[in-house]
Amino acid sequence: MKAVRVLIFLALVSVVATGTGCMGNTAPQGFSGIVSSGDTLFVGAADGKVFVMDPDARASGSAFPSNGEWEYAITTPSRGFGCSSSEVAATVYGVPVAGTGQVCVGTYEGKVLMLDETSREANMVFPQVRSGEWAYPRGDEKLGPIVGSPAVAADTVFVSSSISEDRRTTGRVYALDRRYGDELWVSEPLDGKLWATPSVSDGSVYVSTFDGHIYSLSASTGELLPWSYEAEVGFVSSPFVAGGMVYVGTFDRFLYAIQLGAQEPRWQFEGENWFWGAPVVVGDVMYAPCLDGKLYALDAASGKPVWDEPFDAGAAIATSPAVAGDNLVVATKAGDVYFVNSATGNGTRVPNAADEKKATCDAMVVASPCYHQGMVYVRAQNNVLYCIDPVRKKVEFTFSLKME
């Protein structure tokens, strides 16, 4: 009897541990980030929420929402065991795309939403079709998980998504009409998981897959273009296209620079872990964050290191650096935020507002920082927005995104 009791106890312990994520399997939480447009900040938060905020109002401590501010919670039908259908919070990984009074978001549950700022501020029922709001696919239909951000070019929204069926995992790219959400084209299935943000350049859409392909598609028709690139290992990061080159990180810890149209990389640079976050290019220099905790400055043309030593943040950098004047803003999984001089590679850590010894933020940072009107904004996984002054290297204020 004792044996049975112990067995039950152990089984229950394992179930509790599993449920709480102690066993290595965490439920999707999302790590959407911040983008600015005009005077406004657009923040993708936990629980499928999108916040639109006025930085001045937040700095002054005004009650949220003040004029022009709003929040919207994206929900999805529950997959629970209950008989009645219910709505639960959606999960957002990609950064919202904002512009012309609209915000576009893709969810892990497989929906693309276009939100109209005026309708959301008025808290009207979604979607206000006449105001240009839509959800794709319509009704109860869903795509596979959308992990990358949507890409908006002219009047088209591009998203990528992948599904597993018939013993294969395939990805597809979708092109949607920006105004009405109509499907313009869907690409043919592309082998491998597709978690990338599509990169749109000169009438082509570029995506990278986990099985080691970079595909180029016609932005107008979705047809596969003749050029594609195949590597021996999978691509872990989204392709970043600049100056006729595509830069992408692989699972074997390399950052590849491939000239569009070429079959061999122009250069490749090895880190000590994956290049997960997108690099940024300033002038001739590429700044590449790596999960080995370092920020590398590389000559964009040759891949040769520019700094004597890479900047070592001491913890994995999963975010893309933000450019703030002469500095690059780097946020780490340990929650620290650094200002790194782009010429020298020397960095300064921003201290925690309450305890200097602690990390800048009270939780890990996986969403890229945003530089807006002289201030840096960071969203940490505790769902708090940190506003940092790049001159004083100090947290100016925090704003909790955990609102009812």
Binding site: M1, K2, A3, V4, V6, L7, I8, L10, A11, S14, V15, A17, T18, M23, G24, N25, T26, A27, P28, Q29, F31, Y93, Y108, V147, S164, R167, R168, T169, K193, W195, F210, E232, V233, G234, V236, T250, F251, D252, R253, E272, N273, W274, W276, L291, A316, A318, K333, V366
Partner: protein
Amino acid sequence: MANLWNEIILRPMLNGLIALSGILPEEVEFGLAIIIFTLVVRLALTPVTIKQTKSTRALQELQPKMKELQKKFAKNKAKLQQETMKLYKEAGVNPAGCMWPMLIQFPVWIALYQSIMKALATTPENLLDLAQHLYSSDMIAQAIPVNSHFLWLDLGQPDKTMVLAILVGGTMWVQQKMTTAPSTDSRQQSTNQMMLMMMPLMFGMFTIMFPSGLPVFWLVSNLIGIGTQYVVGGGWGNLKRSNSAASPATARAK
């Protein structure tokens, strides 16, 4: 403590699992790696498992004598305890002998489970976390991401067909049935019966809820458990006995 766990147990196991999947045929790589890895771990734990099986069997063999003692000293608990301990000593049985091996195995199962879930990296958070646990090796880099498809299963998703749930529940029932001795006490017998049903049902339900990589591990583990029990216990044990003989309660009624 967490670092010690990661460095000594989790990382070697996780990287071993991924490296193994890298050398197996791509179509079945990770599913087969789970099976082989479970076999290897079970093999490594064989001495402990055999000890546990023997201890359980020895305890079961003492049950008739235990019953006699319980009848004899029904009103004297202290004496009963004393005589029970004496009986264990004479028979060379340690009642904790079937508990400790289980407790020793438990962390290994947790690590194996963690390894499977981390390697599958079903969510972006899991994939990001996986990066922190991998060794710097070309072999491992080339095996990532693992192919989560195996037979009809997507190992990163729950099995919707119920086939795996039935297999896990069924094999667990068989394994338990082989080791659960029929009791002469009708109350204990009904408790045993309830447990015999509850555990397989519970794990069958978990199978529907969890990514199927984990139930595959449970299934293989159960099958190895049945095999070990068959070899060490000398046959189907109580599974066959209870099928061929009427239950004690029924016998009494007759």
